[in-house]
């Protein structure tokens, strides 16, 4: 079976600074892949290149068979990017819920505006996904009335409502108070359990260990190691992985985010 995401020789520059150096990566259907690494290693940039929130400088991004190359974009390629965004769901560190819409409207917005679905069907889908993240009870509240953990769960429901082929998580718990992290990770674990294809950038080693099929370690814009959680956490080969695992073992499970 073809991979859902296939990244080949991806490079990204911010001005003269090269943040990604020749990254190649595949994610298969129903796989849960966690990307770990120090702040500034390029994890978030890599993730954001997949749905073109960052423009790759060089290399190819292929999502669900749709391939777009880095560099200047033709009109056709812009349409492909749009199609890729429809097939990927993204969850941000800062939630980015729409503050002028209720929880329910936030989740309905994609189906109604993008998919042109009628409001009744969109509401059904939205309610189903809010149920899935355990947020139905707040559906008529506005985002400023709910906690950070609840916001992130709504944000997950909003992405799920578009029925994406793959979910991208960009440090979904880094902006949360420690006591709120658990509820978000629990939702993510249940998604993983249901067979959702997920690519997760995280500092939560515990989560990577429990939920991932594969762990990828990044350092200074490169993939330095990948393998099963057991391989990476128990028998790390690369020195940077060893340092990362060492710090995790000594009790520092999370670091300040990028």
């Amino acid at each position: 079976m073809a991979p859902i995401i296939k990244i080949t020789h991806l490079a990204k520059f911010f001005g003269r600074l090269q943040v990604l150096k020749d990254v190649s990566l595949e994610v298969n259907s129903q796989e849960v892949v966690c990307i770990i690494g120090r702040s500034g290693a390029g994890k978030s940039t890599l993730l954001r290149c997949i749905n073109f929130l960052e423009e790759p400088s060089f290399g190819d991004i292929e999502v669900d068979g749709l391939c777009v190359s880095g560099g200047k974009k033709t009109k056709e390629q812009r349409e492909l990017i749009h199609e890729i965004r429809l097939r990927t769901g993204m969850v941000f560190q800062e939630f980015n819920l729409f503050p002028h819409m209720s929880v329910l409207e936030n989740v309905m917005e994609g189906p109604v505006t993008v998919k042109k679905m009628d409001r009744a069907s969109a509401q059904k889908i939205a309610e189903m996904n809010l149920e899935r993240v355990g947020m139905s009870f707040k559906k008529n509240d506005y985002p400023n009335r709910i906690s950070g953990g609840q916001k992130q769960r709504v944000a997950i429901a909003r992405a799920l409502a578009m029925e994406p082929k793959v979910m991208l998580f960009d440090e979904p718990t880094s902006a949360l108070d420690p006591e709120l992290i658990g509820e978000v990770l629990a939702v993510m674990k249940s998604l993983a359990h249901d067979g959702t294809t997920m690519l997760v950038v995280t500092h939560e080693m515990e989560f990577a260990r429990d939920a991932a099929n594969r762990v990828i370690v990044m350092h200074e814009g490169e993939l330095v190691e990948q393998g099963t959680p057991a391989q990476v956490f128990d028998h790390p080969e690369n020195v940077h992985t060893q340092a990362l695992v060492e710090r995790y073992r000594s009790g520092k499970t999370s670091q300040p985010s990028d």
Binding site: M90, F92, N96, F98, H100, N144, R158
Partner: protein, 282 residues
């Protein structure tokens, strides 16, 4: 067991006492401000009351205004209120549309559109409003475009305020964070849908209270339209009767009172709107 009868109220904690002191201090201040306002208002009225005062052997008389003239001409001047409000409302509507377009245009990556918006703002802000009003009323007929005074006024005021207000809308648009745009794009919105559904509604919320302020400013600047001589708003009426009967003092005071009261009334609604908009949200 005996239950103690609760007769005395529970003692106030220190926090309660401090809080009460703060509330008292605030209240004393506002009462002081209100009293001072009334004293100043009374002084102003006294100044125009033609009262005789004698200090030692000097006798003064405060300014005399002709009450009969005011009573006689009050209905004539007052009927300009609706014209003033009408011009201001039409102009602010026109200005708001222009301001939003100009602010959106400045986000454009297409050079001519960006340039058009900055050119418009620069040209309008670089010339006097008074000149612009005359330009539409007096200069355009020379090239065959004859606008009635009202429309010349609305056009000039709208264009002028639109240029200034585009800055408000620009601030509104940039108040919507990058994360909001990214979230919209990530669920598959086109840039157009993103602007229409996510960015502009949030920017408008930000821009509505300052737009109220602009409307209040517009109420007063609409007086300039009287210069065309064809728009019978407050100022025009006041100067007309004032000049004709050489009672400019009375006529202008009357108009000033109307402007002031209108401003007070709209400012009250404006501040209520502001507190309502600032509640909730984020």
């Amino acid at each position: 067991m005996t239950t103690p009868s609760i007769s005395a109220p529970p003692a106030k904690s220190q926090a309660d006492l401090i809080y009460e002191m703060q509330v008292h201090a605030k209240r004393r201040f506002s009462i002081g401000v209100i009293i001072s306002w009334f004293v100043m208002l009374a002084f102003l009225v006294f100044l125009f009351s033609s009262t005789k005062i004698t200090i030692f052997n000097f006798t003064f008389k405060t300014i005399h205004i002709d009450g009969a003239f005011i009573r006689e001409n009050l209905p004539f001047i007052a009927s300009g209120i609706w014209v003033t409000i009408g011009i201001s409302a039409l102009s602010i509507l026109f200005a708001t549309i222009l301001a939003l377009l100009a602010a959106l245009g400045r986000l454009s990556k297409f050079p001519p559109i960006y340039a058009l918006c900055t050119f418009y703002v620069s040209l309008i802000r670089g010339t006097p409003l008074y000149l612009q009003i005359f330009f539409f009323f007096l200069a355009l007929p020379q090239v065959g475009i004859i606008l009635p005074g009202l429309w010349a006024g609305v056009l000039a005021l709208g264009l002028n305020y639109g240029a200034y207000m585009s800055e408000i809308f620009r601030a509104g648009l940039s108040s919507v964070g990058k994360g909001q745009r990214e979230a919209a794009l990530a669920i598959g919105m086109t840039p157009g849908q993103m602007m229409q559904r996510i960015v502009v509604p949030q920017a408008l919320r930000f821009a509505i209270p300052p737009t109220g302020n602009e409307f209040i400013a517009m109420l007063k600047d609409s007086a300039l339209v009287s210069a065309t001589g064809f728009v019978h708003e407050l100022m025009w009426r006041a100067t007309k009767v004032g000049r004709a009967q050489f009672h400019n003092l009375e006529a202008l005071i009357t108009a000033a009172v109307f402007y002031w009261v209108m401003t007070l009334v709209f400012s009250y609604f404006q501040s209520r709107l502001e507190t309502r908009m600032s509640r909730g949200e984020r």
